[in-house]
């Protein structure tokens, strides 16, 4: 009897068991282990998600981690950047392959339109809409359009903003508390990073009761590369 032929390791790394198939379809890794645990596997696929945080809460770092993870997995990703605040060196350090990121820098009033155009093109797995300090000013119909577009195209639309706006259209919401900066005082002070509390807000995919501990996670961000 001939033994079972071994699979090519390159091919094997792309295979997943049928049992995990649904999980793989349902969630995408956020690129941060603690956040993945909080979200139950990552950001939902084919859904609108919200990431809420003020300045220096680690919001942009989480956004870049998700983009880096998606691009590294061979997926198409786009960043709609209100104000064009992206720092390419820091984005590179966060693991983003710059040439494979579609970057649209725009004003707040056309950001939703730009994101809608990218969503309508199809084929993008992750669209990050970084509103910076701008308060989202989109009517409810706009968020519903994003929600349906994301479901139709199989895209995760991740909106980063200082306040919630999508309401019940968001499948997952993460709210970040104010970041606690860490300074190393070795002679002169040196900024080392910050610590932020992430709380899972109620989204349309979450229904059952959860303990307070299960809804919170502590995230550490490093300033050193």
């Amino acid at each position: 009897m001939s033994s079972r032929p071994a699979l090519d390791p390159a091919l094997l790394s792309h295979l997943i068991s049928a049992r995990r198939l649904e999980d793989r379809r349902g969630r995408r890794g956020s690129g941060i282990a603690a956040l993945d645990r909080l979200l139950g596997g990552g950001w939902p696929r084919a859904a609108l998600c919200e990431l809420i945080g003020r300045r220096s809460s680690g919001r942009t770092a989480i956004l870049y981690a998700a983009l880096a993870r998606a691009i590294a997995a061979g997926e198409a990703a786009a960043l709609v950047d209100v104000g064009g605040g992206l720092d390419p060196r820091r984005a590179f350090a966060a693991g983003i392959a710059l040439r494979r990121l579609l970057w649209i820098r725009c004003a707040a009033d056309v950001a939703a339109k730009a994101a809608d155009l990218v969503l309508g093109a199809g084929g993008f797995d992750l669209i990050a809409l970084d509103l910076g300090d701008a308060r989202p000013r989109l009517p409810a119909a706009g968020w519903i359009r994003f929600k349906h577009g994301a479901e139709k195209q199989g895209t995760t639309v991740l909106v980063a903003a200082p306040a919630r706006a999508a309401g019940s259209c968001a499948a997952a919401v993460v709210e970040l508390g104010p970041g606690a900066p860490r300074f190393v005082a070795d002679g002169a002070a040196l900024f080392d990073g910050l610590q932020a509390e992430a709380t899972k807000g109620r989204g349309v995919h979450e229904h059952g009761p959860e303990s307070e501990e299960a809804r919170c996670a502590s995230l550490a961000f490093s300033c050193r590369s």
């Binding site: 870049y64 992206l86 720092d87 350090a93 966060a94 710059l98 730009a114 155009l117 910050l194 490093s222």
Partner: protein, 519 residues
């Protein structure tokens, strides 16, 4: 109208040298069989290959046109004898046409060795004058391996005549100065291709075009026929040969002349919409998309405004093209009301891609191209693409380059200025990296200082006390560039509003700036 004539002397020789560039600079002769293709009935002696064209080096070595290959080789030991093919000629002629299309949307191909195009529109592009245009044409031809003569005149015939005698000639439009400019051209060149006419001029004692121009045209025509009268008119700078330019083989043109001048953008956009729709319909019939758009506006009462609308990627979406054209017109409004529009659409095939079985499919190339074009119309072409690192130590510098979703996973360009941050987290593992959300350009702020450094600051939207300040980190560079030298002291400050800001002081003038915040 000013017509430019571009002429390739000794086309067969130049065509051969484009194929065999290593032969340039040496003695080269082109062998061709006289009467080739006339059938087998010709006498064998007449089908012997003879030298038809030769390089100056070969001429200096004693080789002459009409020699057989053996005779030429006997005269010059190092002579290279080459034969020209129809493909060589066609390639050279196509290259010559490409040179013309690089300067004008439509050209007339007079023969394989000659093209004509309207050079009047180039005046805005080459304010130095027609000499600059002619030199630019010669340089462009040299890049495709052709040495050309260029003449610019008011008509085709005059420009053609000038190229027979001069490497570069500018013939004035007015009849008197044009006649004077042509006066020195020998009658053999004036009557090129008609030896009988040249012989007649010689017998009459005429040596130059100026001599012919001095004779009454009617009398010359009476004695030498229409060819003589035509030569007489040409010698005076008079020519009525029509100029019939053509588009590139696959380019599309749509045009409209308006009943009344239009000065407003909105009604003009309505006119433009019809042209764009018609052009795209024709393109779609051929399964093509539009890769470039040139709009030529006829202005009232005179003048033209030619503009090329930048298109980020081929698209067949009329709304996108119209939006791009409108943006261009809004940015640079025409100097006068518009009385006519000519739209030139450059077609392109949308790229097909081979999908990877192990990777997600990604966006379809045609839809992606259309989307990028529409995004460019929405936010501006400089704001769509992939971010790139500029080769500078200025922290706020950023560039936009082409988005390549299928690019191999190299994680960005190799860059000297990137190296300090390279090799950080790949995917997962370790704490996530903080980034800086930057203001571009950095916002100038008022800074209150104490003994330790920054104590409080006030900006346009941000006012805060400084709780902790880390720094200064000094950075300077570009002292080798005039007026761009920077010398800065950076600080990371934890402000009373809870954020950690990156600020710097310009040490050259003492001003403070807010770069952004860590996030």
């Amino acid at each position: 109208m000013r017509i430019a004539c571009v002429f390739v002397p000794q086309l067969a020789l130049q065509a051969v040298l484009r194929r065999t560039p290593e032969a340039r600079g040496g003695p080269v002769a082109v062998l061709e069989v006289a009467g080739a293709g006339d059938g087998a009935g010709k006498a064998r002696a007449k089908r012997v290959a003879r030298v038809t064209e030769l390089s100056p080096e070969a001429r200096r070595a004693g080789v002459r046109a009409g020699m057989t290959g053996a005779q030429a080789a006997a005269v010059s030991a190092g002579l290279r004898l080459l034969t020209v093919t129809a493909a060589d000629r066609e390639a050279a002629a196509a290259a010559l046409a490409d040179v013309g299309y690089a300067f004008a949307p439509r050209i007339e191909r007079g023969a394989d060795d000659r093209i004509f195009f309207d050079s009047e529109d180039l005046a805005r592009l080459y304010p130095a004058g027609e000499t600059a245009i002619a030199q630019a044409v010669q340089a462009a031809a040299a890049r495709v391996g052709l040495g050309v003569r260029v003449a610019i005149a008011a008509s085709k015939g005059v420009a053609r005549l000038a190229t027979r005698a001069h490497e570069l000639a500018l013939i004035p439009t007015a009849a008197g100065p044009a006649r004077a400019a042509l006066a020195s051209i020998p009658v053999e060149l004036l009557a090129e291709g008609d030896p009988a006419l040249a012989g007649a001029f010689r017998r009459w004692g005429l040596r130059t075009a100026g001599d012919v121009a001095a004779l009454p045209i009617d009398a010359v025509g009476l004695r030498l026929g229409p060819a003589g009268a035509q030569a007489g008119r040409l010698a005076r700078g008079i020519d009525d040969e029509p100029f019939v330019p053509r588009l590139p083989d696959d380019a599309l043109e749509e045009a409209i002349e308006l009943d009344y001048p239009v000065a407003e953008l909105e009604p003009f956009a309505f006119v433009l919409r019809g042209l764009v729709d018609r052009a795209l319909t024709r393109l779609r019939e051929r399964s093509l998309a539009c890769a470039g758009l040139t709009v030529r506006l006829a202005l009232d009462p005179r003048g033209v405004d030619v503009r090329t609308v930048p298109i980020a990627a081929p698209t067949g979406d009329a709304a996108t093209l119209l939006q791009l054209a409108r943006l261009d017109l809004a940015r640079r409004p025409p100097a006068a009301p518009i009385v006519g529009v000519r739209l030139l659409a450059l077609p392109a095939r949308v790229r097909a891609t081979q999908l990877d079985i192990l990777r997600p499919a990604g966006p379809a190339p045609d839809r992606l191209a259309a989307t990028i074009a529409r995004l460019a119309a929405l936010v501006g072409p400089d704001n769509v693409g992939a971010p790139a690192v500029e080769e500078t130590w200025r922290e706020e510098a950023v560039a936009v380059t082409t988005y390549e979703p299928s690019r191999p996973d190299d994680r960005g360009p190799l860059s000297l200025t990137l190296s300090p941050l390279r090799g950080a987290r790949a995917n997962g593992g370790g704490d996530p990296q903080l980034t800086i959300r930057r203001w571009r350009p950095p916002e100038e702020i008022e800074m209150l200082l104490n003994r330790q450094g920054p104590a409080a600051f006030r900006g346009r939207e941000t006012t805060a006390r400084v709780l902790i300040a880390a720094g200064p980190y000094r950075l300077s560079g570009e002292w080798w560039k005039e007026g761009e030298h920077f010398q800065r002291a950076y600080w990371d400050v934890h402000a009373s509003d809870g954020a950690v800001y990156r600020v710097h002081q310009n040490e050259r003038d003492g001003r403070w700036y807010l770069d952004g915040y860590y996030d």
